[in-house]
Amino acid sequence: MRIYFPSVGRCLYSSRARFVAAALVLAVPGGASAATLVDIATDATDPRNLADTEPSIAVSPVDPTKIAVVTFSENWGPNAMAPVWKSDDGGVTWRKVFQIPQPAPGVFGPGDQKIAFDSTGKLYVAELGSGPRDFIYRQTGAPDAPLTPGVAYGDDQPHLDVDKTAGGSCLNRLYSPWLNFGLANPRSTVSDSINFGAAMTDVAVGNTAFPNRTSRIALAPDGKAYVVYKTREGSVPFSLPGSGGSDFENAHFNVMRSDDCGGTWSALGATGVSVHGPTAVQTLFTNNFGNPTKGKVARARSSDAWIAVNPSNGDVFVAYVSRDTTGFSQIYAARSTDRGASWTSTRVTDGTRHAGYPNVAVTEDGVVGVLYIDFDDSGPATLFSHRFARSLDQGATWTDEVLQTMDPGPLANAASGFLWGDYEGLTAAGSTFYGVFTGRSIGRAVAQLDPIFFKVDSGRQPSLQYAVKFVCGKPNTPVAAPGQYFTAINVHNPARQPVAFKKKIAVALPGEKAGPVTQFFDVKLRPDEALEIDCPDILKHARARDFLKGFVVIETSFELDVVAVYTAAGSTRQVETLFIERVPQRSLQSGLPDLVPVNPQPSSGKFGFCRRDPSGGNLVVTVKNQGVAPAAASHTTVNFAVGGTVSPVSVNTPMIMAGASVDVSAALPPGCFRPDCSFQIVVDAAHEVAESDEGNNGADGLCLG
């Protein structure tokens, strides 16, 4: 069963949000920015009404319509296999494939789990069995055949990812972080494998000075591997409502990096870099997420951090929990543009409710998504909301929508103390986010917890379109001269970064009739790569066989080289005509760009603009194009006050697409700190860009000496 939820602003309280959502479902189903919700389980596939908790999701890089999810659904045993939920149609329908056998006699489970694909679309699952021991299951046969368990390794909460970068030095390296409870201070550890789990090599990471927890991994397109973990530094005397005990602890969320395929993890120092600076944050550590006096509650002990990498430019993002001055546990997103050396954080949530369980993912068009949960206990029962937030400007600003709000109280299979599990699932492929959470069932005979799949576009509107005429096949009616027509559309990525685009087929019918238009299909090209869209591809996407005419429509936010090659053969079946056309781009956006300097920490006023690179010698300035059209390359000037005079520093600023941001660095002039350094930022200082608002190009900043 599917339902559509339109976006709901973050300011709506959940009871109102539910009403508005329901009303808007009726009014505008399938709104442009809506997430599509699908209950993965059905009465047929889940006859025992299991809770299906702690879901994890992966999308095949070969075919994004193939999606796999694991949840706590059914156990393996001596004569039984645990299941993987699979979709072959982009998440519309789901099968329950029993293919995780008992890894060894007497080992029960699953106790924890995570799922991933490799670059060829083969499936891998990390599983915790009793013992406790971890196992990597790898696909060695047909996609639905029993998976093959690897060697026993590890301990608590194994996670998983596989390097998919073609041509990279770490291609097919499998990584599995886990927590070693066998030490006085539990320690984050990463096991890696060159044979997909048949053998594993353990490498201790983390920090031995404190107990570690929440070990998560992300892999970058340049082959670098990142883990985030937290150091537990003592409880905080602050309670969640109705709890009475301590539900928070001091912690640092640290990122470590490996530049040698997991061999060592010291690229950012022995214990890594704190994403929020030297001061500890207060994070959740509780079995009482919610209000125990108003219904069921959830466990949130390793439910406070996640890491992801922008697949296009390698920027690293960490979503983490911090109880801030609002008094609420909030979701923050930290971004690093220098491979983990330095970080800038912004708050994702709005400071009005306790929130936790963040997952983060980044689409290929650079949009950051955060899945999280908050609760509202202002009424008689605690209402939990699964929410999804997006940022189109690298985390500077966020919008979010309520995916679902539920009261787990009446749901018989919702076990208080665990509810959805320690985490949920979020990933990205192309320009689409794919997620799964354990929420209230949709369309089941018995209302219960179920795995709920959602899919949502990044929300970044493509700015460019290429409409390429095609003629394919042999006409049976006299709409074209007799013969065989061929079209080959060549697409080249001239950029130095991967480019995601999407394509669809618009069929043109004779007799002035409009033909069908297919859905968009996501495509990705790495730097300097090219591909060809030819007649068999077009006919396949259009589900046509014989003669077909129309347009292949390509939409993207980045400039491409698109060249169509038309050939036709006559009665000799040899080529008789050859025509090559370079297809011009069309701007999809009307209006003007609008460049502004972005304050990364607005609550700090002009001090917020003081962002220095790791060397300390450069001021980092974020320039955002908040207009509706691309901004051409320009110059940003920083006027530093030095000894009573102004010392301007001008830096090149590249083209910025609508809604996007870039960071530029201006060298701090000698003598600026006397003792403080004040400055003024002016974007488009040379008036090279015609903007919709020319009056918002400046901002004052101050760095304390």
């Binding site: 039984a80 029960f108 009793s130 927590l179 079995n287 076990a415 208080s416």
Partner: protein
């Protein structure tokens, strides 16, 4: 305490509540539910009572005390106390259990105490265990229990947290005799299989033995 059990459930309206003692006698006398060593388990109850263990869990091959300890060393004094208790004489069985306990009356307790780590929460528990023990009927199911003694008075859920992040054990508790005897399923085991039977030591012991023991 290491564990924080959270119990939510639903009382079944069809389950009648009779006299607790007669219900206990009926349940413990239903031989299809129990294994060959069940009499020994019953005979150990006064000893558990003597060390103030209020609840014990009967697994197919072991009896576990309910008190959790952080380390095996911390559990040793209690294990020694149980061992000493086991060497002492037991009270005479009540008439309804004379036949069941006939082979054990007046003889030393046949099994040793031990300290084991609980798979529920990784704590250490005092236990009576041996690989050949058989306290429950092999592969006992909820269906067999209901066939033998009827539907439970209440079915509830108990989540047992450990200090680790693995999926917690969720027990489905089928309560009989005002909660004195609970047949429990574990979500780590195949569905419908009884994982353990939880006995209220003072209550059951007082019914099984003369003199309120």
């Amino acid at each position: 305490m290491l564990v924080l059990p959270l119990v939510f459930g639903l009382a079944l309206p069809t389950a009648g509540r009779g006299d607790q003692a007669s219900d206990v006698v009926k349940i413990l006398s239903t031989r299809t539910l129990w294994g060959k060593d069940f009499p020994a388990a019953l005979s150990s109850l006064p000893h558990w009572n003597r060390i103030d263990e209020r609840t014990v869990a009967l697994f197919p091959d072991r009896i576990l005390g309910a008190t959790p300890f952080r380390t095996a060393e911390a559990a040793q004094p209690t294990r020694v106390a149980l061992s000493q208790a086991l060497s002492q004489t037991r009270p005479s069985p009540a008439p309804a259990f004379v036949e069941l306990l006939r082979g054990l009356t007046g003889r030393p307790f046949p099994f040793q105490s031990d300290v084991v780590q609980s798979v529920d929460d990784d704590s250490y528990r005092v236990a009576i265990t041996d690989s050949n023990l058989q306290f429950l009927a092999p592969r006992l199911t909820v269906k067999q229990v209901e066939t033998g003694i009827g539907r439970p008075e209440a079915v509830t859920t108990q989540v047992i947290q450990s200090e680790r992040d693995r999926r917690p054990v969720a027990l489905t508790l089928h309560s009989y005799a005002n909660g004195a005897i609970i047949f429990a399923e574990s979500d780590w085991m195949p569905p419908g299989l009884i994982d353990r039977v939880i006995l209220n030591v003072p209550v059951v012991s007082a019914i099984v033995f003369r003199g309120g023991q």
